[in-house]
Amino acid sequence: MSPPLPPRGLRALEIEPNVAGIGLALVVAAIGFDLATGGIFLTPRNLSNLAIQSSVVGIMAAGMVLVIGARHIDLAVGSIVGVTGMAAAVLQVEWFPVDAAWGWPLATFAALALGAGIGVWQGYWTAYRSIPSFIVTLAGLLIFRGLAYLWTDGRTVAPLQPGFERLGGGFDGAIGSTGSLVLGGVAVFIIAGSTLRRRVDRRRHQIPTRPLWADTVRICVGAGGILGFVAVMNAYTLPRSDIGRGVPIPVLFMLATAIGLDGIARRTRFGRHAFALGSDPAAAALSGVRVRRVTLATFALMGLLAGLAGVLTSARLGAGTNTMGTLAELRVIAAAVIGGTSLRGGSGSVVGAVLGAVFMQSLENGMVLLGVSSALRQICIGLVLLLAVWIDSATRGRRTI
C-alpha cells in the first residue's frame, strides 16, 4: 500500500474555495469603496459601524447554513427577530420592575428561550408532521409577526434599560481596548495551539500532515487577522478622547456565533448528520442518522440564533418595534448563499455565510456613503446575489480541491 502523498503547493493551505471567493470579493469591494469614497470606507469608525450592522444578519446566516445544509429553509427568522425582540422589550419594561437589576438579563434569557421554543415548534411540524419547511416557516413568518403586533397592539415599547442597550453596541456598547486585546490574544493562542495539536495528533496516527510552512501561514494569517481587527476597533475612540472603544458587543456575539457554529458544523456529530441528511435523506437514514431528531435540532438552533438577533436588534434600537426583522429572512438566506451554501443541501460554510453577511452589508454601507439611492442599492445587491450563485455553480464542476 502506497501512502497518499501530502498535498502540495497552494492546495496544502486547505482553504475552502467558498471562503476564499467571498474573502476576495470582500477585499476588492473594500478597496473599491475606499477609493470611491475618498478614504471614508476604510476608517475605524466606518468599519466599526459596518461590523455592528452586519452582526444581526451574520449571526442568523451562520444558523441558516445548517438549516439549508439539511435541505430545509427557514423563512420565519425575520418574524422571530420581531417577536423575540419585542419579548425582551415588553418583559423588562412592563412585566418586570423597571429598576430591577435582574430585569434585562432575565428578559434577554426569556427572549432567547422563546426563539429556541419557536424553533422547536417549526422543527416539530417539519420533522414529525412531515410538512415541508417552506410551508411551516412561511406560516411562521405570518404567525410570529402577527403575535408580536398583537402583544402590544402595535405600540413601540421604550425606553429600555441601559444595561440592555449596551448589547446593541451603542453608547458604552463595546468591551474596551484592554478587553479586546486580551480576547484577541486568547484567540491567537487558541488558533496556534489547536493547529499544532492537530499536527501532533496526525503524526501520532501516522496520517500525512500539512507542510509546516502551510500551518505556519495559516497561524500567521489567523493571528494577523485577529490582531488587525482588534487594532482597528481600538483605533475608533470615544468622543473627545483617545480611549479606544474596542470590539462592539454585538460583533463579539457574531464572532462567537461564527466560531461556535463553524465548530458545530465541521467538528460535531450533529453538524455532520445535518449535512448528511441534506445531501441524501434516505441514505442518511439507512446509515443510522436520526433524521427527525437532527432536523428538529437544526430548527431549534436557528430559532435560538434568531432570538439572539432579536435581542441585539431591540437593544440597538433602544426599543421594541413592530418592524424589527422585517425581510431579514431574505438577507439571511442571501448571505448564506453568497457564502457558498447550496440550496440543494449537503454543503455549506459557516465562515463563508458570515463573510457573506459582511459583504452584503459592505455593499449597502459603501453605496450609502456614495449617496446611491435605496432603490438602486436593492438592484445592485440583487444582481450580486445572482452573480455569486452563478459563479458558484459555474465553477463547481471544475473544482478539485
Partner: protein, 247 residues
C-alpha cells in the same frame, strides 16, 4: 451447525398500502452460513431483508437474533444488534468523504465530544487499505470516486464494526469484475470467522459459487430452498420460475 440460529425470521408480514410485499415469510441463518435469497424482481427479497436491516420494519411476525426476540425499528437499532447491510444503492453521502461515510452514524469522538478526525482517518486508512490496497482518496468527496471505490467504502462500513450478520443486497449491481472478486473473497473470509451472510440477488450466477444454501422467494413468500451442493442450477431456476421443482 449450532442449535440457536443467528437470525430467525418467522411469519413475517409487510404491507405497503394495498400491496402485500411479504406475507408469512420465514427464514433462518446460522453462523458461518452464506444464504442466497433468490427470486424475481418484486418477489419480496429486499423487503424481507429490510425487515432485518431496519429499513422497513415489519407489520407482524417474530424476529429473533441469537434466540432473543427483538424489535428492529430502525437501521440504527439493527446495527446495534450486529446486523450490517450493504444496500443496493450503497447509501453513501455524495458530499462527504470516505472517512465520514465509513463512520456515519458511529463517529469516533474525542473526550470533548468532538469528532476525532485523526482516529477515524487512521482507522479508515487501515480498513479500506485491507479491502483495496489502491484506495488512497480518503478525503475526497464520494461524489468524485469510482463505482468500485464506492462499493469498497460500503463494504468496509459493513465489516468494520464487528458485524454478526451481513446483508448484501444485490451486491453485483454496482460492481465491476475486480470488485466482484473482492466481494467474494471478503464473503469467504467473513464466513470463516463465523459471521452469517444473506446474499440477495436475482442473478443465479452471482451466488452459486459463494452461497452455502439458497432460499427461494415468490410473491412475498419463502417457498423453498436447500443446500447449494444438493441442488442443480436447473432445479433452482424451476423453483424461481414456477414455485417448486416438480410442480
Amino acid at each position: 451447525m449450532t442449535a440457536t440460529p443467528l437470525v430467525d425470521l418467522s411469519a413475517i408480514c409487510k404491507r405497503f398500502g394495498g400491496l402485500e410485499a411479504v406475507s408469512n415469510a420465514s427464514l433462518t441463518l446460522y453462523p458461518g452460513e452464506v444464504v442466497a435469497v433468490l427470486g424475481h424482481n418484486g418477489a419480496g427479497k429486499s423487503t424481507l431483508m429490510g425487515v432485518l436491516s431496519g429499513a422497513t420494519p415489519c407489520d407482524s411476525g417474530t424476529v429473533r437474533i441469537r434466540g432473543e426476540t427483538v424489535e428492529i425499528s430502525s437501521p440504527a437499532r439493527a446495527r446495534a444488534l450486529g446486523v450490517e447491510t450493504v444496500h443496493q444503492q450503497l447509501a453513501l453521502i455524495e458530499e462527504l468523504d470516505a472517512v465520514a461515510n465509513l463512520f456515519l452514524g458511529r463517529e469516533l469522538r474525542t473526550r470533548f465530544g468532538l469528532l476525532d478526525e485523526e482516529a477515524m482517518e487512521a482507522a479508515a486508512r487501515d480498513v479500506l487499505g485491507r479491502l483495496n490496497p489502491r484506495f488512497t482518496q480518503l478525503r475526497e468527496p464520494v461524489r468524485n470516486l469510482s463505482g468500485g471505490q464506492r462499493s469498497t467504502i460500503a463494504i468496509a462500513r459493513a465489516v468494520h464494526f464487528e458485524a454478526r450478520v451481513l446483508i448484501l443486497d444485490e451486491p453485483s449491481a454496482a460492481l465491476g469484475p475486480t470488485e466482484k472478486r473482492t466481494v467474494a473473497e471478503t464473503i469467504e473470509a467473513l464466513r470463516a470467522e463465523g459471521i452469517g451472510i444473506f446474499l440477495v440477488s436475482h442473478d443465479l450466477h452471482d451466488v452459486m459459487d459463494v452461497a452455502t444454501r439458497v432460499v427461494i422467494m415468490r410473491a412475498g413468500r419463502t417457498i423453498g430452498g436447500g443446500n447449494t451442493a444438493d441442488l442443480s442450477h436447473d432445479e433452482i431456476v424451476a423453483m424461481i420460475v414456477s414455485g417448486g421443482p416438480d410442480r
